[in-house]
Structures are given as C-alpha cells and as structure tokens.
C-alpha cells in the first residue's frame, strides 16, 4: 500500500510539473527602420526633425523616435504588432517643398529585425481634395439612427480654376477597418486596383460646365434638404444641406428623397440594386475621388474592369479602378477596434482618421487649414489623413476656417 501512496504522490507532483510550466512574459526586441527615399530622390542628410512613431495595435501605446541623420531609427519594443508612421517635408534644390510619407502597417515584431521604410512622395500639387466628411450621421429625438444627412465637401485647394465635370465619388468595398479586406494579393498586400462598392457617382457635364474656382467648394449631400427643419429631416441633425451643390439620388429604389432644388449626380455603376439610399458606413468607409481616363460608359462596358469578390460565392461584380485615377482618398477608421486594417494603399493615404465619438454622434472630420493666403484657405494635404485631418468637429458644410490650424 505504501507503493500505492507513493504512486499517487508522484501522480500529483507530475500533474503540477507537467501542466504548470511557466509561460514567458512578452520579451522586448530591437527593430531598426531604414528610411528610404523614393527612386529619383537623393538627400545628403535627413532633416533633424524626422520623427517615426510606432503604435502597438493591441495597446494603442505610441512610441516616438527621432531618426538619425542617415535615416535610421531604432526602437526597443515589446513583442507585438505595430504600425510605423512618419511624415515630413524637405525643401529641394529647386526651392520646392516635398512632403514624404512612410508607413508600415501591422508589422509583427517577433524578433530583432531590420526593415526598410520606403517613403512615398505626397502628391500634393493642389487640385481637388476632400475638405470635410460627415459620415457618422445623427440620432433622432426618439433615439433612432438618421443617416440621410451624410455629406462630402470637395474643395479646390489649388490656385487654378478646376472643373467638377467627370469627378467621381465612391467608397471601397469593405465597410470597416476592423476586419482585413479580402482584396489582397497572395503575399497579403493590397491589390493594385481598388474595388468599389455600392454606387459610384459622377458629376455630369461636358468638361467645363461646372467650374470650381480656387478656394471654392462643392457639397455633395445624400439628401439635399435642410435636415434640421424639413419634415422629412431630423431636428437633431447638425446640417442644412438645402444649398448643397449635388445630391446622390438613388432613383431606381423609388424610396429615396429627391430634393428638387439640388441637382442629382449620375450613377455610373452599383453593386447593390436594393439600396434605398446611398448610405455609407457609419463605422468608417474608405472614400475615393477620381476621374476615369476616358468616358465612364466605355469603362463600364469593359468586362476587364470588373471582378467577383475573392472567396465570395455570390456573382456580384465589383468595379475596379487604377490607383492612378484617384485624385484624393481618405481612410476613415473604426476608432476603437483593437486593430486597424487599411483598405487604401499608403500612396493614397498613409494614415487614417476617425470620429472618436462614434456612429450617430453628429460629428465630422475636416482637413486642417494649413495657411490662409489673401483670404483663401489652403488646406493641409500630405496624403496622410492621420496628420491632415481634425476629427470630432461640428459639421460646417461650405464654411472655411478663418485661422490656420495645427
């Protein structure tokens, strides 16, 4: 019987020893980033104020390190997944200011490593930009969701007269940044072409019908009414869109409100025939402003410009556009999600912006006023919405700030 007792003790001890092995505390690793200028750019030294941030996607903790003159940055970070970002400007020999973005998304730091951070030149030559985006919508006094007051404001940030004719507006497929998009290559990188979801809209015209002068804007409303006072509106809505320039009227649904005083955009293509109205994701869409290289009719007629969603059993075809067509794009993220999976490539938007107050909070995002020249606001446009945009603002369609903003 003593033998049996010994056996039991042995069993109990082995139960503890085998199963109760200590797991390791998360180790820290060194990661060195080598900042690399795009092809065609050379610089003797990097400016002294190039700061690279590392954001832990799990804890949201941000670590910042200033790059050495030769463009290397070394972090000591706890094991995890990180987003690395930088944005800075240099003045070239031609006295031009060049803005560069660097972004590495969802980098898994599991050991000491070296990574190249390839810079992208921000194409901030002026032109049309998204000035303000109101996508989170509002709530009615009864507490119901009200999305008909969404709007986009497009602004001529250049010193030239531009024409709105042929401008297209669309959102990318995938309604949230909290889940990885399936529109990726085998190596996990985003596909070269951008998949558009729901309705794609175009400003009608023959090319010079709708001039937009420097410092002027175009407001595109979902419904062009005074949402505060209209009987179909919502007294809690923060916006009067009765003087919008265009509205996205979904005629085919037979359910959308058609404001008679606001002209309608033209539908180019849609992946949904059942949408009553062009309601975009209140969790944060990825939006693009673009132009087709030729007529939109010929583009839509070409089957090569369409593709079924990868992995989908449905036959819905999504229209794809080249990145080159894009004039401006903004990644709107789901703020509180543990991870943010971007849908836009870094060359179009190296960062993201968001409304911290969340859906139906009646808040908007708006680009920062970089400077005011002769009364004309020039908005910041580094192709990095993390630094270009202010968030959680009261929407002000058609109104420009009177002072420059940081």
């Amino acid at each position: 019987m003593k033998k049996q007792g010994s056996l039991i003790f042995t069993f109990l001890l082995s139960l503890l020893l085998v199963n109760c092995g200590k797991d390791d505390i998360a180790p820290s690793h060194l990661v060195t980033l080598k900042i690399v200028y795009p092809d065609g750019f050379t610089a003797a030294d990097f400016p002294g104020d190039v700061t690279v941030t590392a954001t832990n996607t799990n804890t949201s903790r941000v670590t910042s390190v200033v790059a050495t003159p030769n463009g290397t940055v070394t972090f000591e970070l706890v094991e995890g997944t990180y987003n690395f970002n930088t944005v800075f400007s240099v003045t070239g020999d031609d006295n031009q200011e060049y803005t560069f973005n660097g972004a590495i998304s969802n980098y898994s730091l599991l050991m000491e490593s070296m990574v190249d951070m390839n810079l992208i030149l921000a194409d901030n030559t002026g032109g049309f930009i998204f000035k303000e985006i109101y996508y989170v919508s509002s709530k009615t006094p009864e507490g119901k969701s009200y999305s008909s007051d969404q709007f986009f404001e497009i602004y001529n940030n250049s010193g030239d007269t531009l024409y709105a004719d042929g401008l297209c507006l669309a959102v990318l497929d995938h309604t949230t940044t909290s889940k990885l998009t399936v529109w990726v290559n085998e190596d996990g990188s985003l596909m070269e072409r951008l998949p558009l979801a729901f309705h794609t809209w175009i400003v009608p015209g023959n090319g010079t019908d709708h001039p937009v002068y420097p410092g002027q804007n175009i407001v595109i409303a979902q419904d062009g009414i005074n949402h505060i006072t209209d009987e179909n509106g919502n007294p809690n809505s923060p916006v009067d869109l009765s003087s919008a320039d265009w509205e996205t009227y979904v005629e085919s649904s037979g359910k959308d409100l058609d404001a008679s005083s606001v002209p309608n955009l033209t539908v180019v293509y849609t992946t949904s025939t059942i949408m009553a109205d062009w309601v975009i994701s209140t969790l944060g869409p990825a939006i693009v402003l673009f132009r087709f290289p030729n007529s939109w009719e010929s583009y839509v007629a070409d089957a090569n410009n369409f593709m079924i969603k990868p992995g989908s059993s449905q036959s819905t075809e999504y229209m794809l556009i080249d990145r080159d067509y894009v004039i401006d794009a903004v990644e709107l993220a789901k703020f509180d999600a543990p991870e943010i999976y971007k849908r836009l490539p870094a060359e179009l938007d190296a960062g993201y912006t968001y409304v911290e107050a969340g859906p139906f909070s009646s808040k908007s995002v708006r680009r920062k006023a970089k400077m005011i020249v002769n009364g004309r606001v020039i908005y910041q446009d580094t192709n990095n919405s993390s630094v270009d945009f202010l968030h959680d603002l009261v929407p002000t369609p058609g109104v420009n700030p009177t002072v420059a903003e940081q």
Binding site: N19, S108, E339
Partner: protein, 521 residues
C-alpha cells in the same frame, strides 16, 4: 426551460420515492442540524472523496426546502448586484441500502439582480480575469440555474470501498436591456474515488475531471444600435473594446484534480489529513464564424490544498479542530494575433505569439474549532464555533516595459453559537454569528498614462471592497415542528435569518434576508 422543469420534477419524485422506500425498513428521527452533525461526525464529508459517505452515522438523511433571499446594499463588488432577490428549491439526501451508499442533490435557483455593472458573464466571481462586460446600467440580470449531483459508494471487499460522484449544472441568464448578454452555462464533472482499509489507517484516493462551457451572446432585441461597445477585461482593469451590433464569446474550461486522504484513529480521536491538487485551463474565443479571435486570453491555474481535521467524539460532545491551507496560482496568457487571408480567400486570425500578461497568487489559511454538546437524545444541544483565517492576494499585469501590481493581506475571525431549545412537539434554535475582517496590508500600482485602456474605477472599487475592514452580524432562528410518524418526513422547519455587513472604513453596508421552509426526512 421546459426541459429543466421536467428534470426537476423527475428528480424530486426520485428523492421522495427513495425516502419512502428507506423508511419502510428503518425508523429514524432527524433535525435541521443533522447535516451539521453528519459533517462533524464524518470528516470524509468535508473531503473530495465521495466514498467517505460509507462512514455516515445513520442510514438515511434528507432535506428538501424552498428558499427566498433578498439582499440590498452598496457593499459589493462592481460586478455583483446591489439588489438581488432569488428563490430556490433544494433537495439533498444520503441513503444506505444494503451495500450501497447513495448521495443526491438537486438545486434550482431563480434570481433577479440589479446594480451589477461591467459584466456579461454568468458568474463574475470565478478567478479568471477575462470577463466580458458592457457599460449599460440599470438593467435587471435574470438568472436561472439547475444543479444535479449524484454519488454512489460501495464496499467492494473488506478492505476496499469505491465511489463515484457526478455533477451536472446548467445555467441560463439574460440582461433585460440592450445590448443584452445571453448566457448559457453547462458544467459536468465526474470524480471517482477509492478508500483502502489498512490496519489502523484508511487511505483514500480521488481523481476528478470537470468541464465548464459558457456561451455569451450579446444581442439587441429592442434597439438596433450600430455602435454598442463591448469591453473585454483582462485583469487589473485593463481591457480592450469593440463596437458591434452583436458580439459572441465562448469559454471552455477543463479541470483535472487529484487528492489523497489518510485517516487514523487513536481511541476517540480521529484524524483525517487530505491533500488536493487541481489544474485548470480555460480558453476563450470571440466571434461566431470561422474568423475567431481571442480578445481575452487563456486562464491557466493550479491550486494545492491541505486539510487537516481532528475530531474527538464521546457520548456528550464532539470537538473538532480543522485547518485548511491553500495556494492558488493563475496565469493569464494573451495572444498576439493578426488577420490574414487564407487559401480559400477567407479572413482568419492567425496567432503570432502568446505571452504571460497576468498573474494572480492567493495564499489562504484557516483554523476552525467546533464544539457540539449533545442532548440526551443525541440531538444537538448547542454548537459553538470559532475561526480565524488569513488571506494574501497578489496580482500583476505585465504591461511591458511596466509591470502594474496590486496586493493585499487580510485577517478574518469570527464565532457562531447555536442553542437548540426543545419542547415535546417542536424546537426553536436561535443562532448568532459575528465575523470581523481586518486589512493587514495593501499596495496598488496602476497605470498613470491616460492613453492606456485601464478602467481604474472598476478596479479601485473592487480593491476597496477586498481591502475594507468590515463586521458582519448574523441572526437566525430556526423553528422545527415534529411531524406525526409518517413515511414522508420527520420534521417541518422554517428558518429565517438576517445578515448585516458594514464596513468600518468605507461607510458601506449590505443586508441579506433569508427564509427557508422545508422538511427533514
């Protein structure tokens, strides 16, 4: 719930049928304190070895009662209710038929809770720090649970007895306000055991396996918000959050245990020494489709426990000195995961690494002394108990490069006294208990960086609860009415008790009113 009600009716019928059968062959008289007497006389009932029921002093004992309890007050953990009312049905019995010894228990509990915050789990008081919750306040949390327990022991030979205990629990719960968590808990355990009879010693061995599962599904029944926020707590108030119209979490825990008992006797002094070890691993996954993630972590824990009971019994009294010491260690292992598109073009989470993030250690020791004086009829005359316990709790969260921690130590002492007054056809037993807890030490180090997601209010409130000094006074009266000799029951009893808890340093208090009515057989 129809299924549960059917189970309850069947089980109740079996309890009563078994009792009638037993009474046909043997006559006996019991009181409400017979169960306490059983535990004092048979120390194996306080062990994890079901085979020990063969040492029960009498051939049968049973009770069935309905209970109602209402509690109210602001002295409670954040996730526990400030107001609760519940009713319960309870049945428990021991039975000896020929060479077989049976044990059965059934419990049904139906409760409504208010004032519990940041919680979406059925039982927030288990050791795991991985608790999902929401910020919705003012909601009623309705809970129902069934607990079935059945044990059998048998003398196989002169020198060996064996037994088996099986338990099954099921619970359902739902908060009555959107976004509402719906909880379904199932728990099954089985514990075989054996006792060897040696010359002057009895050696017991038991093993155990337990599986617990909980489905937590946050739904919206009345509202249709797109942005409810769910909080995935991870210990020391750290959390991650997510907004979604609905949320699903699944928890599964497997526990393995083993224990050994040694009983020796010298004259009328009986000693039972027991050592137990338990290892448990709880995993959880978030999400219903294939793209599941772990927004919490694995909870890996073990506990080692030592029990010593010394019992001295003679014709007039029972004296019992018992000691319990235990060490608990729990590790929270969290995942570093990332989404990836698989070969089938579906998005799924892949695990890149997992690391220890949270550790909890608990040291506990308790010394208890009971003195029971018999009446001439061998019923209890009075029972006095005194105890003292110490608890040390240490928690760490590795938020590398920082390590945040909290620890405290408490000492708790108390005594209780029951006096049984007998009349020919009834008896009254007033009972009083006083407990006092004093905090010996405390230390807390939480994050000061506002960008770190740590709900300090929740944690500090709970820390204040654990480290508070309090006094508890409990008064109870038990009335028993001797029933005419029938085959059904010996006594009808009514028990009414009132507990009052009051902190001496926080100004908070809690009151609990308990009533029970039932039969002893």
């Amino acid at each position: 719930m129809t299924k549960f009600k059917t189970i309850f009716l069947l089980f109740s019928a079996l309890c009563f049928a078994g009792n009638v059968w037993a009474n046909t062959s043997q006559d006996s008289t019991h009181s409400i304190y017979s169960f306490r007497l059983y535990e004092l006389q048979n120390p194996w009932l306080n062990s994890n070895n079901i085979s020990g029921i063969i040492f029960n002093p009498k051939s049968k004992l049973g009770r069935v009662y309905g209970g109602y309890q209402v509690s109210d007050g602001d002295f409670h953990l954040t996730r526990n209710p400030s107001h609760q009312k519940n009713y319960s049905l309870f049945s428990e019995s021991y039975l000896h038929l020929k060479d077989n010894y049976f044990y059965g228990k059934f419990e049904y509990r139906n409760s409504d809770e208010n004032g519990n915050l940041w919680v979406g789990v059925f039982d927030p008081n288990r050791e795991t720090p991985y608790i999902i919750g929401d910020s919705v306040s003012g909601a009623n949390y309705h809970k129902e649970s069934f607990h079935l327990s059945g044990g059998i022991a048998k003398k196989i030979t002169e020198n060996i007895s064996s037994g088996l205990l099986a338990e099954y629990k099921v619970g359902v719960a739902a908060k009555q306000k959107d976004p509402r968590p719906e909880n379904i808990v199932t728990e099954f355990s089985v514990s075989p055991s054996v006792i060897f009879f040696l010359q002057n010693t009895k050696l017991g061995i038991n093993l155990g396996f337990r599986n617990r599962k909980e489905d937590i599904e946050y739904k919206q029944i009345v509202t249709n918000d797109t942005d409810p926020t769910y909080f995935m707590f991870k210990g020391l108030g750290f959390y991650s959050s997510e907004t979604a119209q609905a949320y699903y979490r699944f928890q599964s825990q497997n526990s393995y245990s083993g224990g050994m008992q040694v009983e020796t006797s010298i004259r009328n002094l009986k000693s039972l020494t027991e050592i137990n070890a338990n290892y448990s691993l709880e995993k959880l996954s978030d999400g219903k489709n294939n793209n599941k993630k772990s927004a919490g972590g694995d909870w890996k824990s073990y506990k080692i426990e030592f029990n010593q009971q010394l019992t001295k019994e003679n014709q007039r009294s029972i004296q019992k000195l018992s000691f319990n010491g235990s060490y608990f260690n729990g590790d929270g292992i969290e995942y570093n995961q990332q989404q990836a598109v698989n070969d089938d073009n579906f998005v799924e989470y892949i695990t890149l690494s997992k690391n220890l993030k949270f550790n909890r250690q608990i040291y506990q020791a308790k010394l208890n002394f009971d003195f029971l004086r018999f009446q001439a009829t061998k019923k209890m005359n009075w029972l006095g108990s005194v105890y003292s316990a110490i608890k040390i709790n240490r928690e760490k969260y590795y938020y590398i490069p920082e390590v945040f921690n909290a620890e405290y130590s408490n000492i708790e002492s108390g005594f209780s006294f029951i006096r049984n007054f007998n009349a020919p056809s009834f008896s009254i037993a007033p009972e009083m208990e006083i407990k006092y807890k004093y905090n010996l030490s405390r230390e807390i180090n939480l994050a000061s960086d506002a960008t770190i997601k740590q709900n300090k209010n929740v944690y500090l409130n709970d820390f204040s609860f654990y480290t508070s000094d309090w006094v508890m006074v409990s008064l109870m009266v038990n009335c028993e009415l001797n029933l005419p000799k029938t085959d059904i029951a010996d006594e009808l009893f009514i028990k009414i008790g009132f507990d009052h808890w009051e902190t001496t340093n926080l100004g908070t208090q809690q009151d609990i009113l308990t009533t029970k009515i039932g039969f002893i057989f």
